[in-house]
Amino acid sequence: MQSSHMNPNWAEENLQTIRTLMERSAMYRHALAPIMLFAGVLGALAAGGGIVFHLDSTRAFGALWLGAALVAVAGAFFIVRRQALKDNEPFWSPPTRRVTLALLPPLTAGMILGVVFTWFPTAGVVDFTLLLPFLWALFYGCALHAAGFFMPRGVKWFGWIYIGLACGVLCLLVTIQPQIQISAHWLMGFFFGVLHLAYGAYLYLTEKGKNAV
């Protein structure tokens, strides 16, 4: 490295190398904002579709939202892959593998419970249509928290927001206001539409700010 000091820009080049390696090691930061915005738009559209077309039965509700989840996962992989190609990096890199493995257990649990509750609704015991948004938000929050160990710190906090809101609102409904009638699509729209859009917008604006510096 001593010989590189002949180049007056060696310090700048070193900093650039460090930045590139740290970004490569910490997952595709730049892909996070578009993924969040995509998931938010999809969540809002699914909620709107569910409300407008009155998809209120447990099966219709489950089919709509499990379908939306599959599209969201496929879209997220597409965005990450596109980012990897753009940055000339391997798609299935160690960071991608670690994040995927961290996300997998809670998301699989949420999907399995979603399928079971949707296809075998126990009428009269619990309204699964209203319970599923909270369960999914909880599992999703846990998945984000686990993935947050390998991603920017904000992801962990985003996970905590899901966990806190899902527990808080569910406890509120069960203990204080059990008579309140809330549409499950509105809840899903809030959890998976509004929250994603808000975090995506925050990431987009802060990332833009960092790039400008």
Binding site: M1, N9, I18, A26, P94, F150
Partner: protein, 102 residues
């Protein structure tokens, strides 16, 4: 030109091989030996030598365990390593600013 920031640069971190290892570890809680070797395209021997040097300085902690009955070596930055790396970055930034103001 003020030579002071350059003279203060940590010689252990400043070596190219060790600098890239420190950069990777600074962005992750821990990385396996294999991940480091594959990402940095280093040989086993080369990586071992650099990690040993960083370990001796107290900058890197090495943990050995088993995964699927196979030995797994993981590396992570120690508190002293993070501090030294942050100081190194600060000095590089000082040098860049100095170069720009010339």
């Amino acid at each position: 030109m003020n030579q002071e920031p350059f003279l203060k640069l940590n010689r252990v971190i400043h070596e190219k091989g060790r600098l890239v290892i420190m950069s990777m570890l600074a962005a992750s809680p821990e990385l396996s030996f294999t991940e480091l070797r594959d990402t940095l395209a280093m040989t086993d021997g080369n990586l071992t030598t650099h990690i040993r040097a960083l370990q001796q300085e107290g900058y890197v902690a090495v943990a050995k365990s088993y995964q699927n009955r196979r030995p797994l070596t993981t590396c992570s930055l120690t508190a002293a390593g993070r501090k030294a790396f942050a100081e190194y970055i600060n000095l590089l930034e000082q040098i860049v600013r100095q170069n720009r103001s010339k």
